[in-house]
Structures are given as C-alpha cells and as structure tokens.
C-alpha cells in the first residue's frame, strides 16, 4: 500500500497539505518588506539566514483578503525551482501519513480560485485535506494570466 507524507496547514479554516519533500522548513516570521507594484499575491520579502525569500500570500491565491502581516505569520518554505519561496498560511498542522486510497480528485462542487490550486482531496479522520499543486500555489502571475 503506497502512502505519502504531507505537511498540513490551515487557511481560513480549511486544511491544506503539500508533500513533505517539497517543504524546506516551516517558520514564523514577523517582518516583511512589501514590494510595490508586485502582483497582489506577493506578501513581501523576508530575510531567511541571509537569503532573500519571497512570501506568497496563500489567502490572496485562494481569492481571499490579504494577510494583515502584522505580528508573526507562519511560513511554509517550499523548495522552489532554483530558489526557495514561502507560502503565508494561517496555522501549521501536523505531518500526516496518507494512503493513496484515501485520495480522491477534487469534488465537482469545488470551484473558483481554490479549484485551480488543488490536485485532490484526502479523507482524514473527521476532516478533509486539500492537496495543493505547489507550482500553481506559488505562481503569483497566475491570477493575471
């Protein structure tokens, strides 16, 4: 039975997950440098041990209002293609082992921006986890394209 590990996090009460190997680290950070004229989904830049990391506001990507970015915000830092990129999320969840058989494609009733970011649904005990398409999730030009 094939199973995969997912790092989970919450945005607006919904549980999302990305495969663990795509995650570099998870950390809370509270000082972001805004980038004027950047796409709205860009929350800002921050300094990760001397490296400049762009934080993508997952709320905006999901069609919600921006993160306030006042006080600490949780970052899920993904190993992007060549350069790490961070997803701003509300809350960090656990790392879960999920069997492939708990996977289903996204429900047909799911629509809007979320639908484009989600590759499928995992049925957990008592709640559903949406598996994110990592590349789509960090693509800040997605909305404008």
């Amino acid at each position: 039975m094939a199973s995969r590990q997912f790092a989970t996090f919450e945005v607006d009460g919904q549980l999302f997950g990305v495969e663990v190997h795509t995650v570099q680290e998870v950390l809370s950070y509270n000082e972001y440098t805004p980038v004027p004229l950047a796409p709205p989904a860009v929350g800002g830049l921050f300094n990760l041990r001397g490296q400049v990391i762009a934080a993508v506001d997952l709320r905006v990507q999901l069609g919600l209002a921006r993160q306030a970015l006042q006080g600490p915000v949780m970052n899920v830092i993904l190993r992007g293609d060549g350069e790490p990129v961070s997803l701003l999320v509300d809350k960090i969840g656990e790392v879960v082992d999920l069997d492939d058989e708990t996977f289903e494609p996204p429900p047909d009733t799911l629509s809007g921006p979320t639908r484009e970011l989600v590759v499928g649904t995992f049925k957990l005990d008592g709640r559903l986890m949406l598996a994110l398409d990592v590349n789509q999730a960090v693509d800040t030009y997605r909305a404008t394209n």
């Binding site: 440098t33 004027p36 004229l37 830049l45 400049v52």
Partner: protein, 789 residues
C-alpha cells in the same frame, strides 16, 4: 633544450620584474641619495641579472649589467656621490638591459643591441671628476671618457676586468643563498662539528630539516635557528612568498568554479528530493566549500594598484626632465587592490592622465615661483576604497584648468554654442575635455597629444563600468578622478525612506542631495510636472512614492536625490535620506524581474530586506513620455532630433512658449480688424489664401486678458501648399536649446518644458496646434501619419 627555453623564459620574466623595481628604486634614490638600502637593493637586483645572464651565456647582457653594477658599487661604497646624472646613466643602462631582454625574447639572441656606447657613458660617469678619492686604477681611461666613441670597443673590456679586481665579491648577494648551517656556525650559534654530523644524518636518510635536527639534539638555540632562517629568507618577501600563475589558468579556474556552483545547486536539489539527512548534510557542506572556493578564486585575481603605478615614477621623471619641470610624485594607497582585468584596463588611461598632468598641469619652475609657489610641483596619485568602488585620483598642484579657454575651444570645435556657455555649470564645461572632438594638441605644449586622448580615457573607464571626472581650481591645481568598480557584488548605497518603507539607492548614481523646506527650496510645477531649479537649471522630478504606486505625500520636508543614469539627470523625491552603507546585492526572485524598478534586494543593517532601486529604469520611466513625443515631433518635421535646436520663444499670457524654428515659415503681424470668422474659426486672408488662425492662449488654456493693440503677432507654418497661423501675444526671442534639461508635460498641446535663457519655457506640440487650427491640415499629404497617431 626545452629546459633551457623554460629557464630563459623564467629569467626574462623575473628580470622584467626586477627592472621595474630598479626603475622605481633609482627614482627614489634620486630623492634620497643617502639611502644605502636602496643602493644595495638595486645592486642586488642587477647583480642577479648579471649572474644569470652569465650562466645563460648572454655575454653582452652580462657586460652591460656588469658595467652598471660597477658604477653602483662605487655609489654603495661612497666612492662617488649619487647625482642626477648618475641616475640618468643608470636608468639608461636599465633601458639597455631591457632592450637586450626584449631582443632575447623576440629572436632568442642579444646581438642587435648596441651596448658599447652605453658602457662608455657609464664609464664616463664613473670617471667623472666628482671625487678625489677615485681609485688611481680608474683614472687612466678618464681621458677617453667623453662620449666620442673612439675607444668604445675596448672600454667595456677594461671595465669588465677592472671592476671585479677593485671590488671583490659583494656580500649582500652571497648571503642570500647561504646554507643554514654555515650561518649558524658564523653566528657562533652552533658548532661546525654538530652541523657536519647533522648533515651526515641527512645524507644517511634522515628526512628532517637541518634546523630541526640541530634543535632536537639541543645543538642550537631555537631563537638562533629562527633568526638564521629569517635572514636566510629572501629580502623581497612579496616576490618570494608568491608564485607566478598564468592568468589564463586563473580564468579557467574561475569558470570552472562557476560551473561547480551550478552543479552544486543541482546536486543539492537532487539530494533534497531524496531526503536522506546524511546526504543533505554532505550537500550543505559541499555548498559551503564551494562558496568559499569561489571567494578564494576571486581573491587570486586581486592585485594591488602598485602594479600599474610602478612604471609611473619613471614616466614622471623623464617627462618632467624633458620639459624642464620639477615634479615630485607622491603615491598614496598603493596597496589598494583591484581585479586584475580592471587593473589592465586602467593602466593606459592612468598613464595618460599622469603625462597630461606633468605636461599641462604643472607649470614651469619660473612660473610657479612667479605665482608664489614652490618651484617643485607635486603630482599625487591616490587610490582608496570608497564603498563598492575604488577611487583613483591624479592630482596636481599646478595652474588648474582654464574654464574660459575650454569653453572657447568647445565653441570653436562646434561642441557648444556661445549662448550655452553662461548657463553652464563650471564642471560641465570642464567635462568638455572628455569630448572626442576636443583636441589637447591645440594647447600650449607639444609633448602630449600622443597616445590616448581624454575621450579614450573616458571610454576605457566607462567600458569597465567606471566613471571619470575632473575638478579644478584656478591656480591651485586639478584633480582627475577615476571611479572603478571593485566588484559588482558589493555596492555602496544610500538608504532612503519613502512611505514608511526603506529603499536602497546605489551611490554611484547619486550626484547630490537637496532638502526641500518649502521656503527657500521648493518643488515647482510646469504644467503639472514637478521640477526643481537646481542652480538655475530645471531638474525633472520623479516622486518615488508615485513611481511605486504608493500614496503620494506632500512636497515639504522631503529630499531630492539628484541622480544620474543613462546620461540623464533627474531628481528622485523621497521622504528621508538615512545613511550610506555597503550592501551585498542579492539577486531578486525572478518573479519580480518584470516590475523593472528593482535592481536587486539586500539585507539591511536591521536584518530586514531592502529593495535596491534600479536608477536607470526610474530614469527611463521619468523620461519615457518626452522621448516618445520627441520622436513624433521630429518625425513630422522630417529631421533627425538630438543635439541642439533653435527655438522661437514667444509669450502667451504669463507663459513662455517655444516653437521649433524649423517649423516656422514666417512671422507676421496682422491688423486686428483683418481677422474674419468662418464658422467657429478665425481666419485671415493671406497671400491669396484663407489662413486659419489658432490662438495659443486658447489652445493652452492660458486665458489671460486679450492684449490691446491694433495688430496680432502670428507665426505662420506652411507645408504642402497649406498654411496655418498660430497667434501669440509677443515674439520674445530666438534661442538655442540643448535637449538635456527637458521634462515631459502632462498637459495637452505641449511636448515638455525646458529652461531657456534661465526661464522655464514650455515647448509647443506644433502638430497639435496645427490640427487645432485646421483639422484637415495633414489629411492629404500626411495620411499615414494620422493613422499612426
């Protein structure tokens, strides 16, 4: 045979270096004739050349070097004083050695170089009746000394035989390669027998060093051994603690490290995917090592600027002597390091500046005395780090640049028009010397004007991302300043605040800062476009907050950073200027490249990320409108833009409006009562045509009072058999305008504003004005233009 080739090659390389050193030392020796250190050093260097050339059977070279050495030994022993003449002869000898070396380098033989006459001169110098103490043995050939060349053939021979006899085995050379044991024994620090037994041990296979053996067996004191080792170590430690590496090899290494970095990145990604923690640690370690390696390789390419300065004392000496000037050369900061390739690029421009300073900058002794200065001029070379740049200055305390003369020259050469001069900044006029057409040959002397010109200096320096400027004070001197990038990875930057955020502006682009208090300094608006009068010139302003799409703040209590990029000057309005700091440029995430306003990011002192503004891009943005407008205007006029243009300046109400003179056919005065109405338009009969009129005051919305008077002034424009007339209040003047201090206007009917005759003048969009007078003006002849518009 191959081995010999290699040895010769090494000898040549080493000798060239030694010769450069000798050159420098000789010039210094002239300054401080009493320095025995210098004499010894020169002596040793030339002795080495002599010794090796003897070994390699370059007998003529050996002879010449020997002659020089003989003269030097007299100086060293104080038999003969150091005089400028002696130095000249020795320099000549060094030149001779140099040309023999190049001959060897080129065709493997030394035959072609004439050394005899040089040796005669050296000999003459030695026999010069400077000192009664000259040995009798050398007195005899003194008669033959005057450089007639008669006994030339035998002179070298006699020198060769005489000198060694007179001055046996020079010590400073022999002690260089003295064995350690010998030195210890001589110093009384070890017994000869102990040394002998230690040597015996080595022969029998003991791999320890001699000093170690002696120490471990307690036969010598540690301090004595280390002292001996110290003195055994060659005198010129830089030369001997370093090895020569082919630059090509370094370049190859550099490229390979670049590749390694890429491969490392790929590997790290792969390892991360596998997720094995042991592998990840190894990959991280590999990453660190790679970074360090990269840094190390970069460092190998750094060289002190002394490398290119070393030839300059000689240049200055020779040139000043030939011009009858007295010049002291001062060098400050010769240890300042630069990338090797940059050094190469700076070498010729620097030499030119130095020659120029001696030739044109520093005056003749008489003139200096007359001006109340020290007859000896000072030429100062100064190199220092200035943030991400190395500044190299060539400063003389001479007469300074003659600004009027430069201006006059620039006018003669057609680079400037006389009307422009009064409005120009002194520095801008001085900068004319960097113009290609600006010939220095027409200046006072005949020495320079060879080789590269000032325009080439500028081009060369700009090619490597540097800048060159000149500043001068009449009577006090001139400073030529080269700014050379040290590396592109670290820059000196100004941090500024705008809309509560911090931004970073590269300091190279910053010319000056102006604080706007709203009273004595203020932002003005030309048809809505913000401008600032910077010493009477109009500086277009870009509000950073507006450029970044942020909330726009007020005009008071702000700072204007006067920036220059891509040859454009503009002011960037920011809330506060904080400080300068050196920042490490981090590449910005690719997703922000499209914005175009940021050159990169950096980590600021407080650990936050700061965005580095791309000044060129800001400059382009701020001038975009005027550029495109200008193109259409010049298209329509069917002429190439750029340079200066002649403008008809008119008064319209309170405003000054300029019309390109080449769009003007005639200037007319019409009696007011001849103006008739055709529909809603005003027309006038003119040369059998109906001439439509447009009042610029209406077009530009300058609704002032209509001027009283019987006539109106009009500007007639004709094209393709059609004409229109533009009504103005008054014709003011005809003026020249360079296209520099322009600003796009946000108002209809204008292409921009400029400072003309020290007043803000708006430039008319002639096409639009004409269309306002006659909407069908272009319909026949210029259909295509309308489609485009």
């Amino acid at each position: 045979m191959e081995d010999l080739g290699e040895i010769v090659g090494e000898f040549l390389m080493e000798s060239h270096e030694n010769l450069d050193q000798i050159d420098r030392d000789l010039v210094s020796l002239e300054q401080e004739p009493g320095s025995r250190d210098l004499i010894s050093r020169i002596f040793r260097a030339i002795h080495t050349i002599k010794g090796t050339s003897g070994f390699l059977a370059f007998s003529r070279l050996e002879k010449l070097a020997h002659a020089g050495e003989s003269l030097l030994s007299r100086l060293r022993d104080g038999v003969q004083p150091v005089t400028p003449e002696t130095i000249t002869v020795l320099l000549l000898c060094i030149d001779g050695v140099r040309s023999i070396l190049s001959s060897i380098e080129e065709n493997g033989s030394e035959a072609e170089v004439d050394i005899e006459s040089m040796i005669v001169r050296i000999k003459a110098q030695m026999d010069a009746p400077t000192d009664a103490a000259a040995p009798a043995a050398e007195a005899a050939p003194a008669e033959a000394a005057p450089a007639e060349g008669g006994p030339a053939a035998e002179a070298p021979v006699s020198v060769e035989h005489e000198a060694p006899a007179a001055r046996p085995a020079p010590e400073p050379v022999t002690d260089q390669r003295q064995p350690l044991g010998q030195m210890l024994v001589d110093a009384g620090a070890a017994q000869a027998s102990d040394v002998a037994s230690a040597l015996q041990q080595q022969i029998e296979g003991d791999e320890r060093k001699l000093g170690t053996i002696l120490l471990e067996e307690g036969k010598a004191a540690p301090t004595a051994v280390s002292e001996a080792l110290q003195s055994q170590a060659p005198k010129r430690s830089i030369a001997d603690s370093a090895i020569r590496v082919d630059v090509d090899l370094l370049d190859t290494l550099m490229n390979m490290v670049g590749e390694l970095v890429l491969a490392r990145n790929q590997l790290v990604r792969g390892v991360m995917e596998i997720g094995d923690s042991g592998l990840v640690r190894s990959a991280q370690r590999l990453g660190m090592i790679t970074s360090e390696l990269q840094e190390g390789i970069m460092k190998t390419r750094m060289q002190p600027i002394e490398h290119i300065w070393s030839k300059l004392p000689r240049v200055v000496r020779d040139l000043s002597n030939s011009l009858g000037k007295q010049v002291a050369l001062v060098m400050e900061g010769k240890e300042t390091e630069l990338d090797r390739s940059l050094l190469e690029a700076v070498k010729d421009p620097l030499t030119h500046l130095v020659r120029n300073a001696v030739d044109h900058g520093i005056e003749e002794p008489e003139r200096r005395i007359a001006a109340g200065k020290d007859p000896e001029g000072t030429l100062t070379l100064r190199a220092y780090h200035e943030g991400g740049h190395v500044a190299v200055e060539v400063a003389d305390n001479g007469a300074g640049l003659n600004v009027e003369r430069i201006a006059q020259k620039a006018v003669e050469n057609g680079l400037l028009r006389p009307e422009q001069i009064p409005n120009m900044d002194k520095r801008d006029i001085m900068a004319m010397v960097f113009q290609p057409g600006f010939s220095t040959a027409a200046k006072v002397t005949n020495v320079s004007g060879r080789g590269v010109g000032m325009d080439v200096v500028k081009t060369n320096i700009e090619n490597i991302g540097g800048a060159v400027s000149v500043d001068s004070t009449p009577g006090e001197g001139t400073v030529w300043r080269l700014t050379i990038p040290l590396t592109l990875a670290i820059i000196q930057a100004l941090t500024v605040d705008c809309a509560d955020q911090r931004y970073v502006v590269p300091q190279v682009a910053v010319l000056e800062l102006v604080f706007i208090d709203g009273n004595t300094t203020k932002v003005e608006y030309a048809s809505g476009a913000p401008v600032y009068r910077l010493r009477g010139k109009l500086l277009p302003l870009v509000r950073l907050d507006r450029a970044l799409g942020l909330e726009v703040g007020g005009d008071q209590g702000v700072y204007i950073m006067v920036l220059q990029a891509d040859g454009r000057r503009f002011g960037l309005v920011v809330d506060r200027v904080l400080n300068t700091e050196e920042v490490v440029v981090k590449a910005l995430n690719t997703r922000f490249k499209d914005i175009g306003l940021y050159a990169g990011a950096t980590i600021l002192g407080d650990g936050k990320v700061g965005l580095i503004l791309d000044v060129s891009s800001l400059a382009r943005r701020s001038h975009l409108a005027v550029d495109s407008e200008r193109e259409t205007v010049s298209d329509k006029r069917g002429q190439q833009g750029g340079g200066t243009e002649r403008l008809l300046v008119t008064a319209v109400g309170e405003r000054r409006v300029a019309i390109p003179l080449d769009t003007v056919t005639r200037l007319e005065e019409f009696p007011r009562d001849r103006i008739e109405h055709a529909g809603s338009r005003e027309v006038v009969q003119y040369r059998g045509q109906i001439l439509p009129l447009v009042r610029l005051s209406h077009l530009l919305g300058a609704y002032g009072e209509e001027l009283e008077g019987d006539t109106v002034s009009v500007v007639v424009y004709s094209e393709g058999g059609k004409s229109v007339a533009l009504v103005v209040d008054r014709i003011v003047d005809i003026a020249e305008n360079s296209t520099t201090a322009r600003r796009d206007a946000e108002e209809d009917g204008l292409v921009g504003t400029a400072v003309i005759q020290q007043r803000v003048t708006e430039l008319l969009d002639v096409r639009r004005a004409i269309l306002a007078a006659d909407p069908n003006f272009y319909s026949d002849s210029m259909d295509d233009m309308l489609v485009e518009a």
